[in-house]
């Protein structure tokens, strides 16, 4: 063995003594994630507080892990959760099953479900790994009313909003 080689290795070690550390003091300090990071799902709302999810279950159909369970019910103008006739009365994601592929996000016709940046998913039992709609829904935007809302008849008749193609 060449003693020079050992020195060359030690030189690398010696150099690193003067570098600033890359360790984050998690959980006090959190490392920012990339914009397109796929973490825990959120169910989005419109600015007026109505839920974007219309309970179409296309996310459940697209899910390769069969992690999503949706049941739909009917909106009325006296009790409106989302625009149009249909909303998700049950929405559950089993986070133990989810593989964070993001197909649900692709399948969603209203951009309601988005895989956001939260990656802190740990549970003490299997039951609590199932996130229901109350856990997944984002908070009501400031100034907006929570769902269900009483709305003016004949305004929210369309389930699918007009949208631009994503760039």
């Amino acid at each position: 063995m060449n003693p020079l080689e050992i020195l060359r290795g030690l030189w690398t070690t010696f150099k690193s003594m003067f570098e600033s550390p890359v360790t984050y003091q998690y959980p006090e300090v959190k490392r920012p994630v990339r914009e397109r990071f796929k973490g825990r799902h959120e169910l989005k709302r419109y600015e007026n507080g109505l839920e974007k999810c219309i309970g179409c279950a296309l996310c459940a159909a697209a899910c390769p892990a069969d992690a999503i369970f949706v049941e739909a019910s009917e909106n009325t103008d006296e009790e409106r959760y989302s625009p149009g006739e249909r909303y998700a009365s049950t929405y559950e994601i089993n986070m133990l099953r989810c593989i964070f592929c993001g197909y649900c996000e692709d399948a969603c016709p209203t951009e309601a479900i988005v895989l956001e940046h939260n990656y802190e998913l740990s549970f003490y039992d299997r039951r609590s790994a199932i996130y229901d709609r109350e856990m997944l829904l984002v908070p009501v935007p400031p100034g907006a009313r929570p769902t269900p809302q009483v709305v003016e008849p004949g305004v929210f008749t369309r389930s699918i909003p007009e949208m631009e193609n994503p760039v």
């Binding site: 309970g55 159909a61 739909a72 249909r86």
Partner: protein, 835 residues
């Protein structure tokens, strides 16, 4: 007989089909799919949607000679028409050449899809039809993928229009194919739908009161090529691809419609599966691709929270929950103590397997097993029933049908539809009833008689065809004679007999007279000829076939002599509370039921049974077709199938039956029941190719009725075909009570039985709680129509409103069954104005 064949070429494939076949059907028969929206193989074409455009060419003919002109190779020169033709309105002709997938045809159809989508909303994610939608599928296959029309220019119409209580209309989604309108007009003759407005505003409206007043409304949602018509029951219930499917048989009436039960897990049910919807399953010999709304919407009773889930045993006068072990022990002790004085009473709602084991068990303990039903005549049907291969769809010109003492529209809607369709094809329909029914409209001859005279009328018909005057007062009557002429001259004759205005003995006599009529006119032992009983319970024929009969002593006497009573699917004391009075205090009662019925309340032991949805078995239809139903859901609580309960009970009585499954029981039935010899579940599960293709890949063609993959059942041979000798007896008479007023209970489709009332959507359509008398009757009581009157029956007083039914004879008052008035057969009553 068969029509001449015509040979044509479609996309290079040579096809030979009967003359008159439409090009679109001819193509489908050789596996070439021509897309359609408005065309439906069960209805006449209208050519409204233009989706089936094809290029059509004919051989060039010399103008003088009419000869086909050939080219130098000797092949016919084909001249193509300059424009595309709708292949659904075009009949085939010799030498025709059709190009269904030429560039021109494809381009034509692409444009049609683009037009259809100009005003179709982007609803697929929220639409109940999404996933099994013709427009979706054909757009994917034939559409342009891009529209040149502006999105903002879409026509916006009302999206939430209730068409009656059962159906929702979304006006935007409608593509104006008129399939629903035509179905209501042509197939079920309930013309309650129509078009209003014009152009893009054209929309479906209903003009009946109540709206969409038809027993068949659910079928329009199956044939709607888009999601314009959806049922309220399944509204947003699930996406079609999430549903599991189990083949089943409708238990509500003796037609035995083939069903598919679509199930899915539900959070509300604690994560267990529930039935989300009931769909028709194709069986062209039974229900084709249709079912009535009762079959479609009345399934909710099986998931009712009131269902019994565990055995109950009476302790210190109270029914308390018990283990199966305890309940079986208590029941067996009670039955053992009663020994030969055990009376078993079964209803015809139970499956063949249950009824068979029931009879075996009662025989083993030395008791008696009887049937609780007002209909008799099952032995005559077993002997003179319709021949194997019978299909009401085949009846037409030169054939005849007799319907006597039955209102088929209320009692068996699919039979009603198939019978009047046969009349429409030219069959002579003779309708005999004591009042006007919906079938009279299609009758070549209607015979009206007074209640109580049904048997005499049938005897009169026999007398007219045989020349032997029985004891009928009606022999020689002109209507009877001309009807008899129609019936005797017919090539094929089917006789439907019901029990309206008759008791058990009366229906037995009527069955006998009808059988005589068939024998005298030589209409037995062949397909499309024979006798059919219109029972009020689904498996009446099966009950008779396994050997159950009504008690000859009459129920009160039989109950009076019994020490223990076992009730299977029969709510004796609910039907008639007075029967409980005939029962001694000390009589031991065992009940197998779905619900805590009146009878169950009186029981010492109650066993929770499974509904047809949670188990498998077989039913026998009125046409004697044995059909198998399959388990769709996991059992409800601790329930067991009826036959299983009986086998367990037999074990406690030291009687080993050796049945481990339905299969074993059916094996025994096949060994010992006449006509069922050699039958196996495998035979019942056999399927043949059926026309038209439906479901799956063909839903654009035949609709979303499901394809039959689990068996068409087996029509068993009547005795006349098997060489069994059983002679129809001498003609008898039947009577109804003599009184100033006679109450006649009649069957209405949406009755107030537990199996219907549990369905929320059907609630507004349940039969009205009214009495019906004729005009003079109202005057005689001294009230106005709509006012309440008193009905006195057996010392009890019932107060109901009275309405006029003009076709009734004097002294007759009608009431729908299951209205809480304990009369299952005609009874003497008094009517008075409310004092």
């Amino acid at each position: 007989m068969s029509e001449p064949l015509v040979t044509l070429t479609i996309d290079g494939k040579e096809v030979s089909v009967p003359a008159g076949t439409l090009v679109v059907d001819a193509a489908k028969k050789v596996g070439i799919d021509i897309p359609v929206f408005c065309y439906h193989p069960k209805m006449d074409p209208v050519g409204m949607c233009r989706m089936c455009l094809v290029e059509v060419g004919m051989p060039k003919r010399d103008r003088q000679s009419g000869e086909v002109v050939t080219d130098e190779n000797g092949d016919a020169i084909i001249e193509f028409r300059p424009k595309l033709d709708t292949s659904c309105t075009l009949s085939v002709s010799e030498g025709m050449v059709v190009k269904a997938s030429s560039e021109k045809a494809v381009a034509g159809r692409r444009d049609i899809v683009e037009f259809l989508l100009t005003s179709h909303p982007l609803d697929c994610p929220v639409c109940d039809k999404g996933g099994e939608c013709s427009l979706q599928e054909l757009t994917m296959e034939h559409g342009p993928g891009k529209s040149r029309f502006l999105y903002e220019n879409k026509m916006h119409l009302d999206k939430h229009v209730p068409l009656g209580d059962l159906i929702y209309l979304d006006q935007e989604r409608c593509i104006q194919c008129a399939r629903c309108i035509r179905y209501q007009e042509l197939i079920v003759d309930d013309p309650v739908l129509g078009f209003e407005e014009r152009g893009r505003r054209l929309q479906i409206v209903t003009y009946s009161d109540p709206e969409f007043d038809s027993y068949f409304s659910g079928n329009t949602t199956d044939i709607c090529p888009v999601g314009a018509l959806t049922t309220t029951d399944f509204r947003f219930g699930a996406r079609p691809w999430e549903l599991n499917a189990a083949p089943s048989i409708c238990p509500h009436c003796p037609v035995g419609c083939n069903l598919t039960l679509n199930t899915r897990r539900e959070a509300g049910a604690g994560g267990t599966s529930v039935v989300k919807r009931v769909m028709p399953r194709q069986n062209e010999a039974v229900n084709e691709i249709w079912i009535c709304d009762k079959g479609r919407f009345a399934h909710h009773y099986a998931s009712s929270p009131d269902r019994l889930t565990q055995p109950l045993v009476r302790k210190d006068g109270e029914l308390v929950a018990a283990t199966w072990d305890e309940a079986l022990r208590t029941a067996s002790e009670g039955i053992k103590a009663a020994g030969q004085k055990t009376l078993g009473i079964a209803g015809a709602r139970a499956a063949n397997e249950d009824l068979f084991v029931f009879r075996r068990l009662l025989e083993a303990v030395g008791g008696e097993a009887v049937l609780h039903d007002t209909m008799a005549g099952g032995d005559h049907v077993a002997q003179f029933g319709v021949g194997t291969g019978t299909n009401l769809k085949e009846l037409g010109q030169g054939d005849a049908i007799l319907v006597i003492a039955s209102d088929l529209h209320e009692e068996a809607p699919i039979w009603w539809q198939r019978v009047f369709a046969a009349a429409g094809r030219g069959a002579s329909l003779v309708v005999a009833n004591a009042r006007q029914t919906r079938l009279d409209k299609y009758a070549a001859q209607s015979i009206r008689y007074a209640y109580g005279d049904a048997v005499q009328i049938a005897s009169g018909l026999v007398a007219a065809v045989s020349g032997v005057n029985g004891n009928s007062d009606f022999a020689g009557l002109e209507t009877v004679n001309s009807a008899a002429k129609l019936l005797s001259e017919a090539r094929n004759l089917i006789v439907f007999f019901g029990g309206e205005g008759l008791d058990y003995e009366g229906t037995q006599a009527l069955a006998n007279a009808c059988a005589r009529l068939l024998v005298e006119t030589k209409h037995v032992g062949r397909p499309n000829n024979g006798l059919i009983a219109v029972g009020s319970k689904g498996n009446l024929q099966g009950a008779w076939d396994v050997g159950l009969r009504g008690d000859p002593r009459g129920l009160p006497a039989a109950l009076g002599a019994a020490k223990a009573v076992v009730l299977l699917a029969a709510d004796l004391f609910g039907d008639d509370p007075h029967l409980a009075d005939d029962l001694d205090e000390g009589v031991f009662v065992v009940v197998q039921e779905l619900f805590l019925t009146e009878s169950a309340r009186r029981a010492n032991v109650v066993f929770p049974a499974r509904s047809f949805i949670e188990r498998s078995g077989t039913f026998t239809t009125g046409e004697r077709r044995v059909q198998r139903f399959y388990q769709a859901l996991q059992p409800h609580g601790e329930t067991r199938p009826d036959w299983r309960i009986l086998v367990d009970l037999a074990e406690r009585l030291d009687f080993e039956m050796g049945f481990a499954s339905e299969l074993d029981v059916f094996g025994q039935i096949a060994e010992s029941v006449d006509g069922y010899e050699g039958l196996t579940y495998e035979d019942l599960s056999r399927v043949d190719a059926q026309w038209p293709p439906v479901g799956a890949q063909d839903l654009y063609f035949g609709g979303t009725a499901s394809k039959n993959t689990h068996g068409l059942g087996v029509q068993i041979a009547p005795g006349t075909e098997r060489g069994v000798t059983f002679k129809a007896g001498a003609l008898q008479q039947s009577e109804i009570p003599q009184s100033e007023w006679v109450l006649v209970p009649v069957t209405e489709l949406y009755d107030h039985g537990r199996t219907v009332t549990e369905s929320e959507v059907l609630k507004p359509r349940l039969s009205a709680k009214i009495l019906r008398v004729n005009r003079q009757g109202v005057d005689k009581i001294g009230v106005e129509p709509g006012q309440e009157i008193e009905l006195h029956l057996n010392g009890e007083v019932y107060i109901l409103p009275v309405e006029i039914e003009p076709s009734l004879s004097d002294g007759i008052v009608l009431v729908a069954r299951s209205q809480g008035i304990p009369a299952s057969t005609p009874a003497a009553v008094e009517l008075r104005a409310v004092s």
